[in-house]
């Protein structure tokens, strides 16, 4: 057991050396690391609680997605049946309980109606399931129910688009190294390090940025509008900046142009030096806009963002150039934000912040300093304690612990793992438990000596018997760590990562590495007595 071949020694020392080397970049300043080749940039990332920054958990409402789909479907059904040939007359479409139902006026046309609707309901992915089920109830009522598969599919694609849109928006803000990940079915985690004030970020992410241009309905009766009633074909929207004082306005339901036809949006100023957003349409959007403005000179149109009217300027002349201005009591900041939001597209579903954690950079720096001081003191105290207890072998254990700490950092660097504050606690605990393996071995050696074995036999038996115990104890410890990693969120996870890496490396350094040191000592000194 104590005879190691040269190859065995090399096989033990090499990975340790590699691990230690990988830890080095974590101690170098940023500029130096940037000059290293890519494979050497194995740095430990600092978690938000240490570096300062914001963690946001955004959630999309699945009900919203479902509702939106139902509205779209309603629109499609209406168009299909009313405009198709032959025209099929239907009653009002009700959308209660998450399903659509309507009467077909002529019972003879029910089958034809179902035939026409069917093609609209196809395809939840490759499963062959339909998005909607179409049924006939009471021989004249058609009920369209969304299927679970259909809703799931819609949420999935909405989330993919939303994640992409959010990525674009954050990139546009110019923040460094954001992490954007989809989590679960309907959540997105956004982590932005080093941000002083996440308010702007949250405002930006909270905006759906659905932009629409609609004509203002001039025929509406202002007092009815104030009560929320609009003429047929129009709707009442909120208009907080309405010069007339009533915070509502009636607009035509039909959309002139929407944000989907935009190619660019930038912040600018108008002639009064007011902040505005300049937008540019694509060719079809420009054509549509030009057409409608030509037909409606001297009438106002409404600029609508997320179902709220920003402003309702008058069309003084046809706007043909394919570009336009959005005005509406902006500050430079909010205009810029809207421009970013419009450039990156609208969110397919509204997102709300369900969890936020923000740590100022000052506290993060304090925590790093405190963690570092605590770690150093812990290492010194434990090392001194080991030395007075086990002498030469205590020193071996201390070397093993020192290497272990570096190797943990190195492995974290290779894995790109993140060091958090609980992670530092995990570190300190690892220092404590790493010596436990050595304590087990040394106490076993003491015992074997008392039983009358000679030095070499005692060391051999000590390592052999203790290794089994160490293995079992650490397997169970790793079970706890693995469960933490799988189930934990945030701090629990950060702690578990360090713990698991620490268990793996500490068993290796404590059992194998110190054995190489002990074997070397036995071979060169041939001791007849052992102080342990």
């Amino acid at each position: 057991m104590l005879n190691f071949s040269r190859w065995a020694v090399a096989a033990i020392l090499l990975p340790l050396l590699l691990g230690v080397l990988c830890a080095v970049p974590s101690f170098l300043p940023d500029a130096t690391v940037a000059k290293l080749p890519g494979f050497m940039q194995t740095r430990v990332n600092l978690g938000l609680d240490l570096a300062g920054g914001s963690h946001l958990l955004l959630e999309a409402s699945t009900q919203d997605v479902a509702k939106q789909r139902l509205t779209n479907m309603e629109e499609q059904v209406r168009t299909e049946l009313r405009r198709g040939d032959p025209r099929i007359a239907i009653g009002d479409i009700s959308s209660r309980d998450g399903k659509l139902s309507f009467m077909v006026r002529d019972p003879g046309q029910v089958d034809a109606a179902v035939e026409r609707i069917r093609p609209l309901t196809q395809g939840a992915g490759l499963t062959g399931q339909r998005d909607f089920n179409v049924e006939v109830v009471n021989s004249s009522t058609i009920v369209i129910t969304p299927t679970d598969a259909g809703i799931k599919n819609a949420v999935k694609s909405a989330m993919e688009v939303a994640t992409e849109v959010i990525r674009k928006r954050i990139d546009e803000m110019g923040t460094r190294e954001p992490t954007i990940q989809q989590q679960g079915d309907n959540r997105i985690v956004v982590q932005v390090p080093g941000l002083q004030d996440p308010k702007a970020l949250k405002d930006l992410l909270g905006q759906t940025a659905k932009l629409e241009f609609k004509l203002v309905d001039m025929t509406a009766n202002p007092s009815e509008v104030a009560q929320g009633r609009a003429p047929v074909g129009s709707e009442v929207l909120k208009y907080p900046g309405n010069p007339s004082g009533i915070p509502y306005i009636a607009v035509k339901r039909q959309v002139m142009v929407s944000g989907e036809d935009l190619t660019d949006a930038t912040q600018g100023y108008d002639q009064n030096n007011q902040a505005i957003v300049n937008i540019r349409f694509n060719s079809s959007g420009g054509r549509k806009f030009g057409q409608v403005t030509s037909q409606n000179v001297n009438r106002p149109f409404a600029i609508i963002l997320d179902d709220q009217v920003l402003s309702a300027p008058n069309i003084n002349e046809p706007i043909l150039g394919g570009s336009a201005q959005i005005s509406g009591s902006f500050t430079v900041e909010s205009a810029n934000q809207l421009a970013i939001a419009l450039r990156s597209g609208k969110l397919p579903v509204a997102l709300t912040v369900v969890e936020e954690r923000t740590v100022g950079p000052g506290l993060g720096a304090d925590s790093i300093r405190a963690g570092l001081i605590a770690s150093i003191i812990a290492v010194v105290a434990v090392a001194a304690f080991m030395f007075v207890s086990y002498g030469r072998f205590g020193v071996y254990a201390n070397i093993a612990v020192a290497i272990n700490v570096l190797v943990i950092l190195g492995v974290m660097g290779i894995l790109g793992a993140t060091l958090t504050l609980p992670g530092i606690a995990g570190f300190v605990l690892t220092i404590g438990t790493a010596v436990d393996a050595n304590v087990l071995i040394y106490e076993r050696i003491r015992e074997e000596r008392r039983r009358g074995r000679n030095v070499v036999q005692a060391i051999e038996h000590g390592y052999k018997e203790a290794s089994r115990t160490i293995f079992e104890a650490n397997v169970t410890h790793a079970i706890a760590g693995g469960i933490m990693l799988a189930l934990g969120s945030g701090p629990v996870k950060g702690f578990a990562i360090v713990l698991l890496i620490g268990i793996a490396t500490s068993v290796f350094t404590a059992v194998t590495f110190t054995r190489v040191l002990a074997a070397h000592w036995v071979r060169t000194k041939r001791p007849t007595e052992i102080h342990i």
């Binding site: 958990l57 949250k202 405002d203 909270g206 709300t352 369900v354 969890e355 936020e356 954690r357 923000t358 740590v359 100022g360 000052g362 506290l363 405190a370 963690g371 001081i373 605590a374 770690s375 003191i377 812990a378 105290a381 434990v382 304690f385 080991m386 207890s389 086990y390 002498g391 504050l421 609980p422 530092i424 606690a425 300190v428 605990l429 404590g432 438990t433 436990d436 304590v439 106490e443 015992e447 009358g452 052999k464 115990t469 293995f471 079992e472 104890a473 650490n474 169970t476 079970i479 706890a480 760590g481 933490m484 189930l487 934990g488 969120s489 701090p491 629990v492 702690f495 578990a496 102080h531």
Partner: protein, 328 residues
Amino acid sequence: MKLLKLVPDNTNIGFVAIRHWAFVLTAILTLLAVGATAYKGLNLGVDFVGGLMIEAKFPQNVETDKVRATIGRLNVGESSLQQFGDPKTVQIRLPLPEQGGAGAANAVVEKTRNAMQAQFPGVTFSRYDTVSGKVSGELIRNGVLAVLLAIVGIAIFSWFRYEWQFGVSTFISIMHDVLITLGFFAITQLEFDLNIVAAVLTIVGYSINDKMVIDDRIRENMRKYRKMDMKALIDLSVNETLPRTVMTSLTILLALGSLLLFGGHVLRGFTAAMMLGVVVGTYSSIYVSSSLLISLGLTPQAAEKKASKGGIASQAERVGPRDDGARP
């Protein structure tokens, strides 16, 4: 050089003899802990109840009453304040606005910030968390699940590895450790947040580590001394491993002690929980887990049966029979 030996050679303390007293004491303590948790409840952090937590750092010492008065004027719901770490840092907890979603929570933070800055120039918000009720429910569920699964997983492992008695005694003693820790948080009213769940899981991990070492020795002795009385055998095993138990718990307490004193205020609750856990875990290894084995009727012959069955319990690491010739 004379080396430090905390536990003298051939120590033979009769641990098992007083086990009935220990069971009574353990039962009383556990009941107290459960009672305190049920009666006083845990001071759950925003992670678990939802809400808004702001840590405000003032340029000089500040009276919490003044801060409370300032926030009271804002009409943002009932606040609860606590000095945190040093006299310049105050932790403010507010309920989340019921309506308005994300923007509303934002608005509350801004409103508070503005009012505070007007009243106390130079104050900064070094940290703030907002957690909605929905997320906090999931965090609780995941936390409880993680702890329970860890305990059950470990109990199953030690059942397969040894005898069923080890599984049962391990399970009971770890539950004891967790309950005592919860009781500690209920009595001290220290804030119980996600970090503490990590601490509880670590206590579970440490405690099992400790029990495994003793269990492993008990099993080894069960093979060696097949005729020995179980009480004497457990006493022998506990005494044999006592130097290691003392050394290890002391080193870990040293490491944790430095974290408690120098590791900063954010980790203080976490470290306090861990230190208590180390003490409780070590106690329960001897007086709950090992002593229970006797009450559960474990006999040295069990080891023989299981060994002959082979399987997981076969001795993978041991090569050949143990040489006991060296023993006088």
